[in-house]
């Protein structure tokens, strides 16, 4: 074993209470950062879940639409115009909007309606566990997610209720289609959606454009923009970015999550710096002895950095384990904490960075040490 590693590890473990304090600091900090960034990732994914599951090449949206949930409306005749553009195979109308669901046992709850004809390549529920998509073509047929059984007051296929005082019957049940707004999604046909929301039959929220197999998407987009100057034509990637930007930064939610993560990193860095500094101070005589016997500054720096890295590895291992438990515990919740390999690697690098940055005060202390000190002690 390298003597530097041995010196570093024994310096670190000699005062067990202080070592525990260091590790607790790192764990607290990294778990906090994990939760914040995990929530950020989760939020980032959830705000685009509808766009991700819509099988189109382009979106025609009202000018200034901020996100998928923005209930701006297009005219039905825009669809006709879009279909006249060479290369456009289909322009599937989609209607979205908030409305009120009557809970069978009493009371109401807000729901988010998504309407699209089941016979088209529109936006339909996925992960169906009961019922089938075709059944949504029937009048007043709706699909709900089993996550929201409690909120909606229904627990089975065939259950009936009212939506905005119009009848509704559950014909399909999905699993895992959760809303980050906690308002349940309810899928239905286009006409039913227009009726439930109270929108005129000649108004739609989006047109989901399917481009012909031999057509160039970029070229079709240009033509659509030329033909429909009062609306916007977005690629799915652009629409995702727009939605994310709005929800994460337009609303301040993302900034709050980032601020929490930053706070976690700062608190962790301060705790580690404090304990590392205090450990170094306790071993000043040893560092002075190293200086006296001619060790280079680099040798001493390696010891301190080794201490910092050891703290990082041990702290991250514990924090990572706790993080995994939290990820599993939240997997089935409305806003699960997401952990990806990239995030894990990033958190490890952050831990190392925090620990190395924390070593700065200790290094400054040791760099100034006077080897003559060994004669005075």
């Amino acid at each position: 074993m390298s003597l530097i590693f041995r010196l570093a590890s024994r310096n670190l473990f000699q005062d067990r209470l202080r070592f525990v304090a260091t590790v607790v600091g790192i764990v607290f900090s990294i778990v906090l950062v994990t939760i914040q960034l995990g929530l950020f990732l989760s939020f980032e994914r959830m705000v685009t879940t509808m766009i991700d599951h819509a099988p189109g090449d382009l979106w025609i949206v009202s000018r200034g639409t901020k996100c998928f949930e923005d209930p701006s409306l297009l005219n039905e005749h825009d669809r006709t115009t879009a279909l006249s553009v060479p290369g456009v195979k289909e322009a599937v109308p989609i209607v979205i909007g908030f409305t009120t669901w009557t809970v069978p046992d009493g009371g109401t709850t807000p729901v988010f309606i998504i309407g699209s004809n089941p016979s088209t390549a529109g936006l339909h529920p996925w992960n169906l566990v009961k019922g089938d998509l075709a059944a949504l073509a029937a009048p007043h047929a709706v699909a709900i997610d089993q996550t929201y059984f409690g909120r909606l007051g229904v627990t089975r296929l065939g259950a009936s209720t009212d939506i905005r005082e119009q009848p509704a019957r559950v014909v399909a049940i999905s699993n895992g289609i959760r809303s980050f707004t906690t308002t349940p999604y309810v899928f239905t046909s286009l006409a039913a959606a227009q009726s439930y929301i109270g929108t005129s039959p000649d108004k739609v929220s989006y047109l989901l454009v399917h481009v012909a197999a031999n057509a160039d998407v970029a070229r079709v987009r240009q033509l659509l923009m030329a033909r429909l100057p009062k609306v916007e034509v977005l690629t799915p990637a652009e629409f995702r970015t727009r939605s994310r930007t709005f929800w994460l930064f337009g609303t301040g939610a993302g900034a709050a999550l980032f601020a929490g993560a930053l706070l976690g990193a700062i608190v962790g860095t301060v705790i580690i710096a404090q304990t590392l500094y205090s450990s170094t101070k306790d071993h000043l005589n040893e560092f002075a002895t190293l200086r006296a016997i001619g060790s280079s500054s680099r040798y001493i720096l390696k010891i301190i950095l080794c201490q910092a890295l050891l703290s990082a590895v041990i702290g991250f291992a514990l924090a990572g384990s706790i993080g995994l438990v939290i990820v599993r515990a939240t997997a089935e919740t409305a806003l699960p904490i997401v952990m990806t390999p990239t995030l894990s690697l990033g958190l490890f690098l952050l831990t190392v960075l925090m620990c190395v940055a924390s070593a700065a005060a200790a290094i400054a202390q040791v760099i100034r040490i006077d080897p003559v000190r060994v004669f005075r002690q």
Binding site: N285, I293, S296
Partner: protein, 263 residues
Amino acid sequence: MTTPVIEAVDVVKFLGAGAGRVQALRGVSLSLACGQLTLLMGPSGSGKTTLLSVLGCMLTPTSGTVRVRGHATAGARPSELAKLRRDHIGFVFQSYHLFPTLTALDNVRVALDVRGEPAKSAIAKAREVLATVGLSHKENAFPHDLSGGEQQRVAIARAIVGDASAILADEPTGALDSANGHAIMTILSRIAEDPARAVLIVAHDPRIAAFADRIVHIEDGRIVDDEQRRTPLPAGIEGGWLQPAPAASCLAAAANAVPFAAK
């Protein structure tokens, strides 16, 4: 005379700043030759430790010259001074300054590790030197498991393991009882018999004088007496002294009672 390992010429050293500035050394000239144990004596505040620090390349002189194996220390950067210490000087301290978390073997090995010596040869050398000071059986012991005398022997092993040509010891027996102090001085005097090494000891204890080949007295930052008790052999001639002092001969015999094999 042999070429001095360390040579100080007209060294002046001021310590502190402003109103607290004091002149610790006032024109000290001293050279340490191989094969000689020099004892530096003087009252508290006389400048002994400052001189030791200057000769040991921990401090640079305010004026005057210090040369270690021909390398001048004036104007040297801290890293250059560290290299001189690493390559040429071994230190022994009153309070040992061992690493409490390392074994005796690793405490010795650290002097080689800072020089970048590969672990395998460093361990072999450290074992050999521990045997030299009679501590083979304690190589895995931690400092807190060793007596004061044993700790000081580990410190001596650390000082000599890198083949330093000057061993500078600050009150090496100051924290020891007389039996252990005697054993330590015996070891140091044996080291001083090595024609490739010079030993300088700072001490108050007059009993140590019996081990010295030369006794230098310092007072108020000046050398006031330099008593050459024995003269080292010219370079190239090994073994013994021209005129061994009777006291030294007695102590050499006593040293044999301590497990010690001269290198």
